[in-house]
């Protein structure tokens, strides 16, 4: 079965330190992977995606993600965290059965708390 796992409910990091939000996936075939961020009382905002090519994907707000096929992971990273990065982060994978449209399977989300 296809699935996405975000093993940490919450990640705490000090401002200025590097951050990592973990994501692992299980799909048949080549994965299309996404990261979204949700600020309080807001909808999800697209951060970045991996389709093919370079394993390091750069996205919005200084975030990047590293695709690792052997570990079936797609961890979100940022070299220096900001307090304003505090939000809920969702990893998602495209359902390979979705045919011509982009049905996404979402992880449960990881809350990132950046402390001053």
């Amino acid at each position: 079965a296809q699935s996405v796992a975000q093993p940490e409910d919450q990640v705490n990091v000090a401002e200025g330190n590097p951050l990592t939000v973990k994501c692992t996936y299980s799909v048949s075939g080549n994965p299309y992977l996404f990261w979204y961020v949700q600020y309080p009382n807001r909808g999800l905002q697209f951060l970045l995606k991996y389709i093919t090519g370079d394993n390091l994907v750069k996205g919005s707000y200084g975030f990047e993600a590293e695709f690792n096929k052997s570990q079936t992971s797609f961890h979100l990273k940022k070299p220096s965290a900001l307090v304003s990065d505090s939000a809920l982060y969702f990893c998602a994978v495209r359902d390979v059965r979705s045919g011509g449209y982009n049905k996404l399977i979402f992880g449960a989300g990881t809350r990132l708390a950046v402390h001053p």
Binding site: D9, N41, G43, F46, N102, G107
Partner: protein, 114 residues
Amino acid sequence: NAGVTQTPKFRILKIGQSMTLQCTQDMNHNYMYWYRQDPGMGLKLIYYSVGAGITDKGEVPNGYNVSRSTTEDFPLRLELAAPSQTSVYFCASSYPEGGVETQYFGPGTRLLVL
């Protein structure tokens, strides 16, 4: 562009009442989606549409209905509200970007059924 807009932002319903959640996008996207988000859970797909006049069920369609008469609008109908439908509802639309559709979300509708 306003992007994806949703109304209302918040609503309280009594059990058995009905309501329509509105969703409009001004980006001329063909694909539109309705999700629900429950606490501690990822988003679950309720219904989706690949174009005007075409809709199909997602993972959790029971208790909901949709229609897509125009490219812009994709309303979600709850006929007989139940407490299990208490959730936050997100509408999204998408277009091909780099060969894969990227979904863009509205701000959500918070629904409480009592």
